[in-house]
């Protein structure tokens, strides 16, 4: 929740420029990510918000270079991690970057851990691959990282298998693998959706502490504006493969400038106050293989004009650090 100005002075660690990831399917080309650009500073938390099919997860997989190919391919754009373009790296070069400089916490700890290896083994794997160190040091590092994510009795827990841990503990192990090599950028893809609320609160607090301890740049992929409100400094709202609005978290909440953001925010019930009737966005998110030429939100938009269905809107600045792609701002 700290939109501290200190972050603005930090160096940019990740810069994404015009990223396009397409999939060839039998229904035609699916433009899952269609020109996404953003940058991320050291110690900053960026939230990428969107519904299923908005391209947020494909963006995340593109950053990790984990797009299954075929059918998918990064067709255009650059992903600069400290100046190094990840798109141009060979598979071998990428595997030395993946996990050590840019790491991922996946949504479902039930399926992202291997059931037949002990958790010590799985946390140690990432360390062994990326650092050339003797076995005893690896064991020591595994214990250190498990303690960092507050796993009680780490010495005995390292020998446990995933099924012996609760959901919250398993998610901590996945988090431990993510931070084990002290990455510069950590991507968390809906890390708390399968957790109970009180466990979710514990985990979010832990992530925040880990981030502050080593100045990690964090990307939160989520559909939940609550997580954004609690955790993020900046927000990018995605719809049909593009960022439709981006800005500081307070700008987005106080002055949502894209009709989609505005509608999403007013369609969520509030914990703190009574709402007589929620705004509901009619219709459904579009299918990505035959997108209209204009703004893809136009069919569901309450302010849609003629122009909207013809030309995709350019990005207009609301303030210096806040823009939205909507013709109303022209």
């Amino acid at each position: 929740m700290s939109t501290n100005t200190a972050i603005n002075g930090n160096p940019v660690v990740l810069q994404v420029e015009g990223l396009k990831t397409y999939f060839e399917t039998r229904w035609g080309t699916v433009r899952a990510v269609d020109g996404v650009s953003f940058d991320l500073r050291k110690g900053e938390t960026l939230g990428i918000v969107g519904e299923s099919g908005s391209g947020k997860s494909v963006t995340m997989l593109s950053l990790m270079r984990l797009i299954p190919s075929p059918p998918g391919q990064i067709v255009d754009g650059r992903i600069l991690l400290e100046g190094q373009d990840l798109v141009q790296l060979s598979d071998k070069e990428m595997s030395s970057v993946r996990g050590s400089q840019i790491a991922l916490i996946i949504q479902d700890p039930m399926t992202s851990l291997n059931p037949v290896f002990s958790i010590g083994n799985q946390v140690g794997e990432a360390i062994k691959i990326h650092q050339d160190i003797p076995k005893r040091t690896v064991v020591q590092q595994v214990l250190d990282v498990l303690r960092k994510v507050n796993i009680p009795a780490a010495e005995t827990r390292v020998r446990d298998y995933p099924h012996q841990l609760s959901g919250g503990m398993r998610q901590r192990v996945v988090g431990a693998i993510g931070i084990s090599c002290e990455p510069m950028v950590l991507i968390a893809d809906e890390p708390t959706t399968s957790l109970d609320v009180t466990i979710q609160a514990q985990y979010l607090k832990l992530l925040k502490e880990l981030q502050e301890a080593s100045d990690i740049a964090l990307i939160f992929i989520t559909h939940d504006f609550g997580i954004v409100a609690k955790m993020c400094d900046r927000v990018a709202v995605m719809y049909a493969g593009r960022i439709v609005e981006m800005g500081n978290v307070r700008d987005i909440f106080n002055n949502p400038s894209h009709p989609y953001t505005e509608a999403l925010l007013s369609s969520v019930p509030k914990l703190e106050e009574d709402v007589e009737r929620l705004y509901s966005i009619e219709g459904q998110p579009p299918t990505l293989h035959d997108l209209p030429s204009g703004c893809p939100f136009a069919p569901r938009c309450q302010y849609a004009m003629d122009k909207c269905s013809q030309v995709y809107p350019s990005e207009f600045n609301v303030t210096d650090s806040h823009y939205a792609a909507c013709w109303r701002l022209e």
Binding site: V197, T198, K230, L271, I281
Partner: protein, 336 residues
Amino acid sequence: MTTTTLDARPMADTGNEVLLEAEGLKKHFPVTKGMLISKVTGWIKAVDGVSFQIRAGETLGIVGESGCGKSTTAKMLLQLEEPTEGTIRYQGKEIRNATTDERRAYRSSVQAVFQDPWSSLNPRMRVRDLIAEPMVINLNLSRREMQARVSKLLEDVGLSGYHANLYPHEFSGGQRQRLAIARALSVEPRVIVLDEPVSALDVSIRAQIMNLLKDLQQEYRVSYLLIAHHLATVRYMCDWVAVMYLGQIVEFGPTKELFQNTSHPYTKALMNAALPSHPDIEQEEMILTGEVPSPLNPPEGCRFHPRCPVVIEPCSTVIPQVREMAPGHIVSCHLY
């Protein structure tokens, strides 16, 4: 027994008739050891003395974390689980003693909508047959009447008559949930159990479904039992809220009162753990440590005391008495 578990029945009278009543409901599952000659080594007390009322046209929400017994409670109401102890009364009549015909009538009066519309609709049936299936069993209608009702139901849930010829896979998640609602409504139930009806849906679709459920409640005057873990959803949908922890209700009250004067430390912790709706909302730092203990061996005294941040002396030994904070708002905690 009535002194040890929270009895959420004496509600402030809202003038609506009591439809469904649960009293001292318990469900204990045996834990067995050995394959051929199995021995019961313990009991999982999934639900351990729960009482509440559902009134006509109102919504009762049950919130709690996984393992608190909220789904088991719903299953008992749906007659999918036989209660170990306690009674369920529908319109004043006890279900356990009901005749076969009365039980059949009960089953059609209490319907359910489940969380996941991808697995709750048979993929091999056309929408027409899916929606008509409960009517074939429970109502004696001609083919033509049935068709007409299916079309009317589809329109009521915001779809069109021509959708009747399609199969479930041709619908999106939100539309499927609409189909599940139409199916539940087809036999004119008085109560619908909604088990996490929106949590599997996209954010922009959730509001559509919640508003639809509210509209249908007005139109059909049906009561809802809403099982949810998302507090904001409960606040929006419910007239009454019951908070469950380890098989028991710890706090119960009218929604507005309960959200404004939250009393039980567990409810407070749930509220604090819930995500804020705006970045400027400061939340009290009251994060619960640890996880829900096993219902196999629940703690002595107040079941919440090992995790409670404001635990006092009698909590670990004495079961707390029930106290009424305001009309209809009851709490089971030693602090009061």
